[in-house]
């Protein structure tokens, strides 16, 4: 069994899992619909509807991508499928790698599609309005950053699910970590900037923080993924199925 066959089998599993397809399509749709709503709102107020609407939709789209990130690891434990998987791929290190790569591919494709479709929606909304086109700024980088951010937050969801194994606890942990805790902590302490979504959000909102840049912010988010990922892979290899 090589890594390539392992990755392709994991991708087949994801492709044929209805909830995973639903999560991916849902993420793209959430991004597009929220962008359309924000763009319509901006046009109403005479502002140009462009990349800004796409970037404002990212916090909403991340809800879908978190679910997509959790599924590859969690669905194995919803029944007895995990043992079947281990019979087919007894090398757990290889399995963890293959699963993570498959998740990365699914997340990156979904994130890129979400940003792309949202941008197209915003462009259509702009085209339908008579507001003049704004001067071009650093938006292409912020849009690419949005796609990278969505992929990375999905990877964080993946490693959390790999660690806690079950869908509902992983979902509650991720939603709390990304949506609930940061705003509460940000009001109390400036160290909230080290939380994964705050640090990572600099990728699509550059300049929102005084201490971190988009580059270091992304590194902080990657650091979260690596630390939790290392613990998850260690548990994945040593734990009883």
């Amino acid at each position: 069994m090589t890594l390539l066959t392992c990755v392709s089998s994991e991708i087949t599993k994801l492709r044929t899992l209805p909830l995973a397809v639903l999560a991916a399509v849902g993420t793209v749709l959430i991004g597009a619909v929220i962008t359309a709503a924000l763009a319509a709102n901006a046009v109403d107020q005479g502002a140009p509807a462009g990349a800004t609407a796409v970037l404002q939709a990212v916090p909403f789209a991340q809800v879908g991508i978190i679910l997509l990130g959790i599924l590859p690891a969690a669905h194995e434990h919803a029944g007895s499928q995990f043992r079947t998987t281990l019979v087919a791929v007894p090398n757990r290190g290889l399995l963890a790698t293959g699963k993570t790569l498959a998740a990365l591919i699914a997340l990156t494709v979904t994130a890129a599609l979400t940003v792309g479709v949202s941008l197209a929606t915003a462009a259509i909304a702009h085209h339908l309005s008579s507001v003049p086109l704004p001067a071009r700024g650093a938006e292409p980088w912020a849009l690419a950053g949005a796609a990278v951010y969505l992929s990375l937050i999905g990877m964080l969801a993946h490693v959390v699910a790999l660690l806690v194994r079950h869908l509902v606890p992983a979902l509650v942990t991720m939603l709390a970590l990304v949506l609930v805790v940061p705003p509460l902590l940000a009001g109390v302490t400036e160290h909230a900037r080290w939380l994964p979504d705050r640090a990572g959000s600099l990728l699509y909102l550059p300049g929102a923080d005084t201490a971190l840049t988009p580059g270091t912010g992304a590194l902080v988010l990657v650091g979260w993924v690596l630390v939790i990922g290392a613990a998850a892979v260690a548990a994945f290899i040593t734990r009883d199925a």
């Binding site: 709503a37 709102n41 909403f60 679910l67 029944g79 509650v172 705003p183 902590l185």
Partner: protein, 265 residues
């Protein structure tokens, strides 16, 4: 079979369900952590002579700050797992069946079962509120001590605490109803937790149409009783808002109850 027996069995079932206690602990420990941080900030600001950079130094407001978000997450988790756990597939060694089949064999009268489940959600949410809300206010008081200036009268404090418990209870019932309809906790968890945070779909909708103020979470938000300068303007007042939110909960409960009664398990 009377309502009493299913209520007792459901109570025992939920009390031995780790996920239900996770919901209680999320509300309790999560809010306590936020309250402790908040209270230390207030005490530090007063000690440094810069209380004006805070909105206020009231111990009640400090202890209450986490209630609208963390407490709602706890209530949603409780509402979801009480019914969602019934539909989770069991281990393959024990047949891979779902617990709902056993539950319905034991309590064939489905409306009774559904009402018992709703009562369990209310009991758990009320218990959580009873410990969490006074506990956090006491914690904030203990940390801030005499340093803060209380701006909330005891009567207001009681009203706001009870209103918050009502909001949690209604949210728990809404979570129970939606999960009954979907038979899986995923969608209700995602939608309801995201909506109770800053990334709220309802809040976004209010920018597009004022009708969105009639959605359950937006209608009930004045129940928390925050001073009006700190909340999003517009929307329904506390009492009509509570009635609208209660109406949503009632309609969803009735729909879910009918579907639960008529549908194949």
């Amino acid at each position: 079979m009377s309502l009493w027996n299913p209520f007792g069995s459901e109570l025992r079932k939920t009390a031995t369900l780790p996920a239900a206690w996770a919901g209680v602990l999320v509300a309790l420990l999560g809010s306590a952590a936020i309250t402790a941080l908040n209270a230390l900030t207030v005490r530090g600001a007063v000690a440094a002579g810069t209380p004006e950079r805070l909105a206020d130094t009231s111990p009640f407001e400090t202890g209450f700050a986490a209630m609208p978000i963390i407490g709602v997450v706890g209530a949603v988790v409780i509402g979801v797992v009480v019914i969602g756990s019934e539909y989770t597939a069991d281990r393959a060694e024990s047949g891979g069946a779902r617990q709902i089949a056993t539950t319905l064999a034991a309590t064939p009268h489905r409306p009774t079962l559904f009402i018992a489940k709703a009562l369990i959600v209310l009991v758990f949410v009320a218990m959580t509120a009873l410990v969490t809300i006074p506990g956090n206010i006491a914690l904030a008081r203990a940390i801030i001590g005499g340093a803060g200036i209380e701006t909330v009268t005891p009567a207001e404090a009681v009203t706001r605490s009870l209103s918050t418990a009502l909001y949690w209870a209604l949210m728990g019932l809404i979570a129970l109803s939606i999960t009954t309809l979907t038979r899986s906790g995923v969608i209700p968890l995602v939608v309801l937790i995201a909506n109770s945070s800053i990334v709220s779909f309802s809040l976004l909708l209010t920018n597009l149409t004022p009708l969105a103020h009639w959605l359950p979470d937006m209608a009930g938000r004045k129940l928390f009783g925050f001073p009006s300068e700190y909340v999003v303007q517009g929307g329904l007042d506390p009492v009509p808002g509570a009635m609208v939110m209660g109406g949503w909960a009632l309609v969803l409960m009735v729909v879910a109850g009918i579907v639960f009664t008529r549908r194949d398990a």
